[in-house]
Symmetry: C2
Subunit: 321 residues, 2 copies
């Protein structure tokens, strides 16, 4: 349903790419933009502007800046995660090298800042929000990295981490669009909180899908997060709810480098079952999803527009776009 | 002579540090700020504002943002250059690790952007200039990296590289201060060009000092740039002026991993002498220095203020502060 906005964004990104200089450090930037993506964050910015002023184009610079910022974080995150692939293509540091990935990322972030600074939008609050969000995204990535070597993570710490790493950017995308569309402070904050809660539900859903895939995910390695010992809501709930004897065994399984990976996944899944971890995770997901919908209901817009946002929310949770 | 401004900057940086959260990703940021430095870039911003409106404090946010941006580039450049030390202390990636250095650098840049966006200065041109300069600094670093593996560099390419990597930030520091101080477009551009040319002269001087040190530099390895095969104005001039036979020998010496490093430096210095490379470099330096002074002379300010800028320029070239 955001396909109309996606087309606008893709077109703008194409123009952005075409206008970049031919200097070789711009190549990784052109490359990652051309890798594509759902563009759902910038589409949300256009949607929010559209809802409040029916002129989504007014928010185009901020939407594109947000998508480019997201791509900048992908370049640097992929270095930190040593990821070889992104959207089934080589990551930037893998195709070029780490130095090129660091520097082209920095350059992309500088381009984002210039794009924002030259945007006709006069509202200073928008830029403050954007830069504050950038700070929080970095904080989220740092917590994610810290958690890799930490076993005693509370659910609240985990939620804080995914909110900083993922949800705040979705929330920012929406609030920027709302502010540009002339929404009241109350409505734009409600939309921010909608995004924050929806993003959180979405990330929890993503954690669940890794171990309990839907039919569409056929062919993907089940339990990739378990193999990587990644802190997901499932693992965090398991660690916090299991007996000390089981917890010791769980870490032995996770740390076992010799064990067959499918057996590893299956053993951990047995513990997930024993401690009803899926149920706990689904409850969390639903809690945040309901909070999100509750925010939408409070926004001072027509019922039709609320339905639009709710339909998008449902589609996102079903990963249907 | 900029000591008064340095004190203001150091005080602001101290407050900035104190107000940073306790999250561990902020530690590398606090660390690099505490490493100190001459703070001459932000001091120039305050000087320029002082010259035009006698209220240097008006430019404090922009000055601090510029210094912090410079520190962000140092964190990332040190990774790319694999530098173990910065100001005789461990570099960030050396003290922590590469991931922490990438991420804390990104976070510092995000903090810079927020500081700028929340600055009371209303002039949009200032922020455009700042972000355009950031783009150019990244471009300069990319050219510097490219030149490492390239032997046929023209003098104009070399000058372009050092101007992007070094001079534009000095020029930006001055122009931001001038704009905040209410300078005319003509005067602020003259100050920009002064900074661009002075920065170029300064970098050429730096290249020269590495091989022909002043007395103050006693104890430092002479010819460190030769050992690292770094493209300096001396090497660029040598490559462009030597016979093809000599050029071949010069690259053999530079690529020789077995030779005693002092012998390597001495052999290359012999070629510098043969082709009067020092003279050529000094001529370039003087040309840019004179251009810089010529810009100062055209600015519509009192003679006293011109003398102030010229005294600073002379002190910078003598590295007396």
């Amino acid at each position: 349903m955001l396909i109309h906005y996606k087309k606008i964004i893709d077109n703008e990104l194409k123009l952005f790419n075409q206008n970049l200089p031919s200097l070789s450090i711009y190549e990784p930037i052109k490359y990652i933009i051309n890798l594509g993506g759902k563009r759902f964050r910038p589409s949300l910015t256009l949607l929010a502007a559209d809802i409040f002023c029916e002129k989504p184009q007014l928010a185009i610079n901020e939407a594109v800046a947000l998508e480019l910022f997201h791509n900048f974080t992908l370049i640097h995150d992929d270095i930190m995660d040593e990821a070889p692939l992104r959207r089934n293509q080589q990551t930037v540091h893998n195709k070029w090298n780490i130095n090129n990935a660091i520097l082209s990322g920095d350059l992309l972030y500088a381009l984002v800042n210039k794009l924002l600074a030259t945007s006709p939008s006069k509202n200073k609050e928008i830029h403050k929000l954007f830069h504050q969000t950038a700070i929080e995204v970095c904080e989220g990535q740092s917590l994610d990295m810290e958690f890799e070597n930490k076993n005693d993570i509370l659910l609240t710490d985990y939620i804080k981490m995914i909110q900083l790493k993922t949800s705040v950017l979705i929330a920012c995308a929406l609030k920027m669009g709302a502010l540009i569309g002339g929404a009241s402070s109350k409505d734009s904050n409600l939309l921010y909180n909608f995004g924050l809660n929806l993003g959180t539900a979405f990330q929890i859903h993503d954690d669940i899908l890794d171990v309990y895939p839907s039919e569409d995910n056929f062919g993907k390695q089940v339990g990739g997060d378990i193999i990587e010992k990644k802190k997901t809501i499932l693992l965090v709930e398991l660690i916090n709810n299991s007996s000390s004897v089981d917890k010791k065994i769980i870490f032995q399984i996770l740390d076992d480098q010799e064990i067959d990976i499918n057996l590893k996944v299956s053993k951990i899944k047995d513990y997930y079952k024993k401690y009803s971890v899926l149920k706990l995770a689904v409850e969390s997901k639903n809690k945040y999803y309901e909070k999100a919908i509750d925010c939408v209901n409070q926004i001072n817009i027509s019922e039709n527009k609320k339905v639009l946002i709710k339909d998008f929310s449902a589609a996102l949770m079903e990963r249907k776009f």
